[in-house]
Subunit: 141 residues, 2 copies
Amino acid sequence: IKDLPLLQMTAESLMVSSEKVAHVQLNNPLEHALLILVTSGYSAIPVLDTRYKFKGIIGKNAILNEILGLERFEMERLSEVTVEDVLMRDIPSVNKSDHFLTCLKNVLDHPFLCVVDQEGNFDGIVTRREILKQLNKYIHV
Amino acid sequence: IKDLPLLQMTAESLMVSSEKVAHVQLNNPLEHALLILVTSGYSAIPVLDTRYKFKGIIGKNAILNEILGLERFEMERLSEVTVEDVLMRDIPSVNKSDHFLTCLKNVLDHPFLCVVDQEGNFDGIVTRREILKQLNKYIHV
Ligand SMILES: Nc1ncnc2c1ncn2[C@@H]1O[C@@H]2COP(=O)(O)O[C@H]3[C@@H](O)[C@H](n4cnc5c(N)ncnc54)O[C@@H]3COP(=O)(O)O[C@H]2[C@H]1O
Ligand SMILES: Nc1ncnc2c1ncn2[C@@H]1O[C@@H]2COP(=O)(O)O[C@H]3[C@@H](O)[C@H](n4cnc5c(N)ncnc54)O[C@@H]3COP(=O)(O)O[C@H]2[C@H]1O
């Protein structure tokens, strides 16, 4: 592996910090989550609990799949089902101190990674865009 | 700019070929487009006309934004509005013969690029995932 300053970058220096990350809570109805997703424009965002611990992610696809009935999208179910029922839990997360290659490896299959500490506190997200920007910079040096 | 074999790769060698790309037609109702998007799992896909010429892209966000009324998502409008009414036309596209750096530059702000020829024929798409895979390979050599 090449010895590059790029590779020394940590998830902390790459991430969008938690206060800038749109998110929803476990107990929100899907209606609220879908509204946040549509107005923010994001396809998927992190889910936190009432103590701001990271729990997983939720996306438009999971919500729309949930309400897709045999004949139509059953919009009334949006107020009956909560984020917790549709939550995607098994998604990769990294630590603030993890390095660039760990982040790169994980965004190969995921548009973004969550940065979480040992206690489960949510620190931020590392996006494919940030990884690509850094690689683009490096390739032009 | 570094002199690398990676940089000689063309959009053609990077792309998912058109026959493997989910797409919809200009005249489809939004209901059909949303169903294709939800069942395929993709957030946005290309739009072609009846002669398979590339016209733009359509995504879940554009569709959901279109039917979001003051009080609720107005699902009945899905059968009244067509893809053409909600089409995103101003998206970057590249040629089969364009090189890696052109593709990289364009995926900095877009999850995928459309590969289109001079006559407007749709050849395929270049995804961020493919660009990241190639960069990951190169960085580990
Ligand atoms: N409001 C906006 N302004 C400018 N560009 C926008 C944008 N919304 C989306 N994009 C562009 O579209 C890409 C895909 O967004 P998506 O929402 O599917 O996928 C996003 C979304 O699921 C999540 N994400 C990014 N920023 C977020 C934030 N501030 N809060 C919550 N989730 C975020 O990370 C994924 C990858 O983001 P990434 O930046 O690599 O890639 C983004 C970015 O290049
Ligand atoms: N069925 C599936 N199997 C495995 N992984 C999946 C998947 N669906 C989504 N993903 C993963 O999620 C990423 C974002 O998908 P999204 O649908 O938002 O965004 C996608 C979608 O809008 C479009 N796309 C990719 N492949 C497509 C295809 N065969 N037909 C139409 N559109 C496609 O290009 C965007 C970027 O794709 P990319 O591969 O970089 O990134 C994909 C991929 O890493």
